[in-house]
């Protein structure tokens, strides 16, 4: 595991993605070259109005320029304050933290299932897979959200060239329904050579976990939990495991094997 670095980059670029979504790029980030898909950074807001750091998955990096991107949605107080930071603000970022997605083998069918703000780490995973030589068209990227407004970075995904299926609950874009429905059909057509990767709200992860377990499909889930420390010392972020133990989402996770966590 890479050692986390305490760093003070600036907010280099601030892109408003609409509907309360933002892309923030920080530089110079010493950690940029070390962050793998699935890993996260822990950000101290430059205010005392929220006490803890907030965790954000790495959405992309540019190691040469030492740039690191996160994508977030305004959810509560923390993300609201984050969204109000001016360009150029000095940040306090700890990372990389947590476990990584394991890249699929070339002969595996990679199925990525993103729900809502679970999208950024999977976009990063897809991008890295392609960089490592995985054929873009064979990356089955299922992206579900409540409605059109929650589907972001479409042109970026198009450029990547992945096989993108968009699903919204209200049908305002893409298929109507739950993202797990087309995933299920896909799994039924393809066998155990599939590798599943998923990040999103807990009910969705639970559904994906169940779908996979029933078909003995392997893969990984990225979880969220409130994280006081983010680097493993407080034991605040644990989730129960199927073997009866606890694991820290910030250290053993956020990426867990399918079947490992008692969802």
């Amino acid at each position: 595991m890479n050692k986390p670095i305490c760093d003070n980059p600036r907010l280099l670029r601030k892109r408003d993605l609409g509907h309360n979504y933002f892309s923030y790029t920080f530089a110079p980030c010493q950690a940029a070259g070390k962050c793998r898909p699935g890993q996260f950074v822990h950000i101290k807001l430059p205010t005392e109005a929220v006490f803890f750091r907030r965790a954000f998955s790495v959405a992309s990096v540019d190691p040469a320029k030492r740039e690191l991107e996160i994508i977030f949605k305004i959810f509560g107080r923390g993300t609201k304050l984050l969204s109000e930071l001016p360009k150029g603000a000095e940040m306090n970022i700890l990372g990389p933290l947590g476990s990584k997605f394991t890249m699929p083998r070339r002969n595996h069918e990679a199925v990525l299932v993103a729900g809502g703000v679970g999208f950024p780490p999977l976009m990063y995973l897809a991008e890295q897979m392609i960089r490592k030589g995985y054929e873009p068209g064979r990356i089955r990227f299922f992206y579900g959200a409540r409605s059109k407004d929650d589907i972001i970075e479409r042109s970026r995904m198009k450029k990547l060239g992945v096989d993108l299926t968009i699903v919204t609950e209200d049908g305002s874009i893409g298929r109507r329904g739950l993202v797990t429905e087309p995933v299920e059909s896909f799994l039924d057509q393809h066998g155990s050579s599939v590798r599943l990767y998923s990040c999103g709200p807990e009910p969705m992860l639970k559904a994906v976990n169940d779908l996979a377990l029933r078909r003995s499909i392997r893969g990984q889930l990225s979880l969220e939990a409130p994280m006081p420390c983010g680097y493993g010392v407080c034991l605040g972020c644990v989730v129960p495991l199927t073997d009866g133990g606890h694991a820290r989402v910030c250290r053993e996770g956020p990426v867990f094997e399918i079947g490992e966590v008692a969802l």
Binding site: K3, F51, Y231, C234, L235, P240
Partner: protein, 305 residues
């Protein structure tokens, strides 16, 4: 004489007065990824119990105004796994190691300390008689002077290195408990543990912690801790380790003026893992600008009205 941050507690010399508090630095491994543990005066382990404990189910932390609540519930690997798996790493660090011990009965405290007495690789035990997050033991001991004296006395019989007793703030008069710990044979007092508190999620109408309540820590409780350190310093001869909301070197000076000989940093490690390193840097500079030779010159030097 050259400037020094060194402090001595019960005959044990610390390179500097900054320790990391129990439950806030695990068993040291993760923190050592962030800075070399030699930068610390000392490290206090998560509370160790006789048997391994999972702790309470999540959620077991919550954010509050300038602080946090936790009800981890003494999750730990148990004393045997601790001795086998964790001590070897800790023993190799060039810093003082303090093992924090918790128990549900006098016998459990004694048994854990007896087993620890047989192993090297650490310097002191800190007795947690003040954990607000377990049903039996913990705070129950720390709020009863008789029980406090008894558990300290029994542990002293089986453990031959210096003993720190960690006090709870959730009592009517902490000086009474401090006196009982002293009577039982404590070498050092540390204070305070977290303050009993809770928070509610108004949407689900449930407590924010599965344990229904937890311990409040962080800057919010610093004034409470300072008042208690000052009160015990006036009544009691034992050296005091100040704990509660410390986040910067100025906080350490406040605690030392009130009577603390050293301090522990807990919650601040979550907000900024480099806090101890920043504090020692600040204290060195403070000695220089104040033309002080040693931090000891500050201890108890509060000029009361």
């Amino acid at each position: 004489m050259s400037k020094t941050l060194k402090v001595t507690l019960a005959g044990v010399e610390f390179d500097n007065p900054i320790m990391t508090a129990s439950g806030c630095c695990g068993y040291g491994e993760e923190l050592s990824d962030i800075f070399p543990l030699t930068r610390l005066g000392g490290l206090v382990t998560k509370s160790i119990t006789l048997n391994p404990r999972l702790g309470h189910p999540p959620p077991r932390t919550a954010e509050t105004a300038s602080g946090m609540l936790n009800a981890i519930g003494l999750a730990n690997v148990g004393v045997d796994a601790f001795i086998r798996d964790k001590i070897p790493f800790l023993a190799g660090r060039k810093t003082r190691i303090i093992v924090n011990v918790a128990g549900g009965s006098v016998d459990e405290y004694v048994e854990v300390c007896r087993r620890l007495n047989d192993v090297d690789g650490f310097d002191m035990i800190e007795l947690n008689i003040s954990c607000p997050n377990v049903d039996r033991g913990g705070i129950q001991f720390g709020s009863d002077p008789k029980l406090t004296e008894k558990v300290v006395r029994e542990v002293k019989k089986v453990f031959s290195r210096p003993l720190i007793v960690k006090l709870s703030p959730s009592v009517t008069d902490i000086t009474v408990i401090a006196g009982a710990a002293e009577a039982g044979g404590a070498d050092v007092l540390s204070m305070i543990n977290s303050v009993v508190g809770t928070a509610v999620d108004i949407h689900t109408r449930r407590p924010r912690l599965t344990n229904n309540k937890g311990g409040l820590t962080g800057p919010a409780i610093k004034p409470i801790a300072l008042a208690m350190v000052a009160a015990v310093y006036e009544q009691c001869r034992l050296p005091i380790i100040g704990i509660g909301g410390i986040a910067c070197w100025q906080d350490v000076v406040e605690f030392m003026l009130c009577g603390a000989s050293a301090v522990q940093v807990g919650t601040a490690l979550f907000v900024d893992p480099e806090t101890p390193v920043k504090i020692t840097r600040g204290l060195k500079e403070y000695l220089r600008t104040q033309k002080l030779n040693s931090l000891n010159d500050l201890v108890g030097k509060l000029e009361k009205y």
